[in-house]
Symmetry: C2
Subunit: 224 residues, 2 copies
């Protein structure tokens, strides 16, 4: 029985990491679409998301099967629950990558309104956070997980700055309003991807240390 | 053993319904803040969310305890997993209610830019969807759950219309740009609450019928 459980848990971990790779690919494509003004990447992100959605359902069913068949306890149980949560977060990241790629496609097919330097910093931060949150999961590495948490504040700050900058741009030149709104939307979706990477890092920390670190006092200022 | 399990499951259900009531209250307050232009409701939503966040952690810990202690199977297992997912969705609804209340507070303290009639329809739809999704959960009623799913399309449509209307408003009169962006943000957050109510309805349908009804072909057009 225990050997079967270990085999099934290994299989589950492998599936989740595959799912993570797909989501990382989707978010990276969406970010490249923004950075390089490439409308052609949008359909690729859409295709990836179809696979991501299917994989999410399979992983959740696998979790249910493991719980029902093996009735794991202690660390194994926590691991399965962690997989269910991370699986859900990854699927949502895939949806957000689509939204970003769609905004990028609109922006790429219209005159460039110019992007503040900080936005490129945000793109790199989100790229790193997604990668590191998955690394922390693969290696069950709390140090990396905490690095992800630290990066989230900077992403939140840049998102707020983007709002101020784009608003000023719209006042100056109403002709850019539509593009500025799309850019604002992309920035907000990036910030949500960073939040989900943060969720994953928190789940890894919980899995390893058994402590709930979400809902600290400042938590409800996020995602505003 | 089985009697203890049933008692714990009843207790869990009660806690989740209490959590549901709190979230319904928070979203209703946020909606009222928008409808009645009341900035004063914002702090009430913030206070509610602190409780909601605490309750989420307790419910998740209870789920883990039940899984570890009783190792439920079949329907009971599906129920516990459903509670974990709904719990997570409810917590996110609480966060979105804060965002909406904050937008409402800004709008209430600045000159009214006027709201298209459809927005009031959207507010009523979201209010109903939250209520009905929780009712479907209490009564494990798939008919009500499917009504919630049907309403989501209309909310998505109104959200898209809001974008068009507010964009036009900004072009006409750049002085309203900031308020229009806040209104757009509120509309988007409402649409996300509707998505989460839809998630809950889908989870109820899955619990009752054992079928995964999410990720239908049109699914990735949501939340755009």
């Amino acid at each position: 029985m225990t050997m079967h459980l270990q085999r099934d848990l290994e299989d589950l971990k492998k599936k989740l990491l595959d799912m993570g790779s797909l989501v990382e690919k989707a978010t990276n494509l969406a970010i490249s679409a923004l950075q390089e003004r490439r409308a052609d990447l949008c359909s690729e992100v859409h295709e990836l998301d179809v696979t991501i959605d299917r994989r999410e359902v399979v992983i959740e069913e696998d979790c249910l099967k493991i719980l029902a068949l093996h009735q794991p306890v202690a660390t194994d149980l926590r691991f399965v629950v962690c997989v269910m949560k991370v699986n859900n977060d990854l699927e949502r990241m895939g949806d957000l990558a689509i939204n970003i790629a769609e905004r990028a496609a609109y922006l790429a097919t219209h005159d460039d309104i110019g992007v503040p330097l900080d936005f490129h910093r945000m793109l790199e931060l989100v790229r790193t956070m997604v990668k590191q949150s998955l690394n922390s999961l693969i290696n069950l590495d709390v140090t990396t997980a905490r690095e992800v948490l630290a990066m989230d504040d900077e992403v939140d700050d840049i998102n707020k700055q983007m709002f101020v900058i784009l608003e000023a741009l719209m006042f100056e030149n109403p002709a850019v309003i539509t593009r500025a709104i799309h850019m604002l939307s992309a920035s907000r979706h990036l910030e949500r991807i960073a939040d989900l990477a943060t969720n994953i890092a928190e789940d890894v920390a919980f899995l390893v240390e058994g402590a709930v670190i979400r809902h600290q006092p400042e938590d409800y200022t996020k995602d505003s």
